[in-house]
């Protein structure tokens, strides 16, 4: 038996990947359906010299990982919708102070405590706009264990590269189901390490002065440099400022570092798009049912294709517009009332040709559900 082959839950895959990416600090408050992430890290992190803390609530968890990241750790927390709501204030702080961190939200049915043990994908917009103020954000998702592994590593890498929180939007189905994972050898997937300043101790260090390439080298807090960190608009020293040009500069920087790099951040998979007349757009667990339909219908001559989104934010408007140019119809398959649907309608030339195939009753969408909707779209009746 190959020791790198595992048969585990999606949540455990996320744990394996986070450790592979160098995670060494986790603070969280366990909640279904994300609990296994905390459970497994509670065992594995201390074994590897890392720290695991079970916090009193979710905002404290978020605050703890922000602080730990600032001291030089690679950090993560995991939760579900209700806990993600409670993290929003501190999430905004991490965005403003540009502190790398990874937040896993294993989505369940909402709003409020909703359906704790059922699947949902209702937090797509919350990931985008849950915290207040204009801001850029990165949110990623995946539909199978091999992809959960690589996307989780991507999340850590993007967090370091852009000095920003990255949200992993998994869901109950992917989190709880067991399937095969082949763990890559160390070094097989590149890991982005913390960019630290080369400025020596005793020499002025400007924590918020970007290099020529736009990146901000960090200095482990509590180390050789003394500097200020604040959620207020701040200058290159990290001190509060309401100088209009400083405010505008930082505001632009926080948004531009994400939106100007959509192509670098965007991850997606495509199936049979070349000649597809009808394109399904889906993500997370729902993409599994969509792919089932596409692979079943193709041999019968139906020109169906699937575009599986792995980066949800920043939304890849241009890519979707180009991929969907020749499609006669587009169906967005998701487990909410149409959150990505709206974004897709904004992306394509002809929003009238975009339809929704969803389920919002806590039951995982079946291939039959999708086929029934396609019959309407294709004018074949009920």
């Amino acid at each position: 038996m190959d020791p790198n082959i595992k048969f585990i839950q999606g949540n455990e895959v996320c744990v394996e990947a986070a450790l592979y990416a160098g995670l060494n600090f986790f603070a969280g408050y366990p909640i279904t359906p994300s609990t296994e992430i905390a459970e497994h890290l509670a065992q594995k992190l201390p074994e590897q010299g890392g720290k695991f803390i079970q916090m009193e609530d979710e905002i404290a968890s978020m605050a703890a990982i922000i602080g730990a990241s600032l001291t030089g750790k690679k950090v993560m927390t995991a939760t579900s919708g209700p806990g993600f709501s409670l993290m929003q204030e501190a999430l905004g702080y991490a965005i403003m102070t540009e502190i790398p961190c990874v937040i896993v939200n294993v989505m369940r049915g909402g709003p409020s405590t909703g359906l704790p043990t059922s699947v949902g994908q209702g937090d797509v917009m919350q990931a985008r706009w849950g915290t207040h103020g204009d801001h850029g954000i990165i949110a990623l998702t995946a539909s199978n264990h091999q992809d959960v592994f690589s996307i989780t590593i991507d999340a850590f890498n993007l967090a370091e590269t852009y000095r920003t929180p990255v949200i992993l939007l998994f869901d109950e189905v992917v989190g709880h189901m067991r399937e095969k994972l082949v763990v890559p050898e160390p070094g097989e997937i590149p890991i982005v390490e913390r960019l630290r300043t080369s400025v020596k101790g005793g020499v002025d260090y400007h924590p918020y002065l970007p290099r020529e390439d736009g990146r901000l080298p960090m200095s482990d807090f509590g180390g050789v440099h003394r500097y200020n960190v604040t959620g207020l608009y701040h200058d290159m020293w990290g001190f509060p400022s309401n100088n209009p040009s400083v405010v505008q500069g930082l505001h632009r920087h926080l948004n531009d570092k994400i939106t100007n790099n959509v192509n670098q951040i965007s991850r997606y998979k495509e199936y049979y798009l070349e000649d597809a007349e009808c394109i399904l757009i889906s993500y997370g667990s729902a993409a599994r049912s969509a792919l089932h339909v596409v692979q079943e219908r193709r041999p019968r001559g139906e020109k169906l294709g699937l575009l599986e989104l792995q980066t949800l934010w920043p939304f890849p408007y241009q890519m979707i517009k180009e991929k969907c140019e020749n499609a006669k119809s587009i169906a967005v398959v998701e487990l909410n009332a149409g959150q990505v649907l709206r974004a897709v309608k904004r992306a394509v030339n002809d929003p009238e040709k975009v339809f929704l195939a969803n389920r919002i009753d806590g039951v995982f969408i079946t291939p039959v559900d999708i086929r029934n909707m396609l019959r309407f779209v294709q004018g074949r009746g009920a």
Partner: protein, 182 residues
């Protein structure tokens, strides 16, 4: 191989979910097959009718749940009442004769087997009921090698209990074989 979709059902504590995980894991780790296991969480996992879905195949599995099982195992009356209608026509319905009275003829091969009674008679401990069920299922379906299942069991339980599980698996295999030839 033909894709096999299975539903294991019973009540919390009978070990149906553990059995489902062991089977799927054995298929993936030791037989180079593709498998997916999922289960119903929530109130139904604490007493009531527990359910776990397993799909085993030699090709990629996308949709991870089971709508119409080829093989349906029901270890309690409640589980049987709730799930017997979903059996795929021509499939195999395995029930334990100690716990389930089948009411109607389903369009399936119905196997009412004394799994629990045999375990109690030959071992006297209900704790390995689920492994015995797995042995029965393997004899009837010939899905994977029983040795693969033993390999997984070895990684999951203390050494002192290995012999007990081995015996339970064998009892199940014999029970299944006896009814297969009937």
């Amino acid at each position: 191989m033909e894709r096999c979709r299975m539903v294991f059902s019973g009540s919390g504590g009978q070990g149906v979910i553990t059995a489902a995980i062991i089977l799927a894991e054995a298929a993936v780790l030791y037989e180079n097959l593709t498998a997916i296991q999922s289960q119903a969480y929530g109130p139904e996992a604490r007493g009531g009718a527990t359910r776990s879905d397993v799909i085993i195949s030699d090709t990629t599995i996308n949709y991870p749940k089971v709508v119409q099982p080829n093989v349906l195992v029901c270890l309690t009356q409640e589980a049987y009442n709730k799930f017997y209608t979903i059996i795929r026509p021509g499939g195999m319905l395995i029930t334990d004769s100690r716990f389930v009275k089948t009411q109607r003829k389903a369009d399936a091969k119905q196997m009412e087997l004394p799994i629990y009674a045999t375990v109690m008679e030959e071992i006297g401990k209900p704790i390995v009921f689920n492994i015995c069920m797995l042995g029965t299922l393997l004899a009837l379906t010939e899905l994977i090698q029983p040795e693969s299942v033993m390999k997984v069991i070895k990684t999951r339980i203390p050494k002192d209990f290995l012999q007990l599980n081995r015996k339970a698996l064998d009892i199940g295999l014999n029970l299944g074989k006896a009814h297969k030839t009937q």
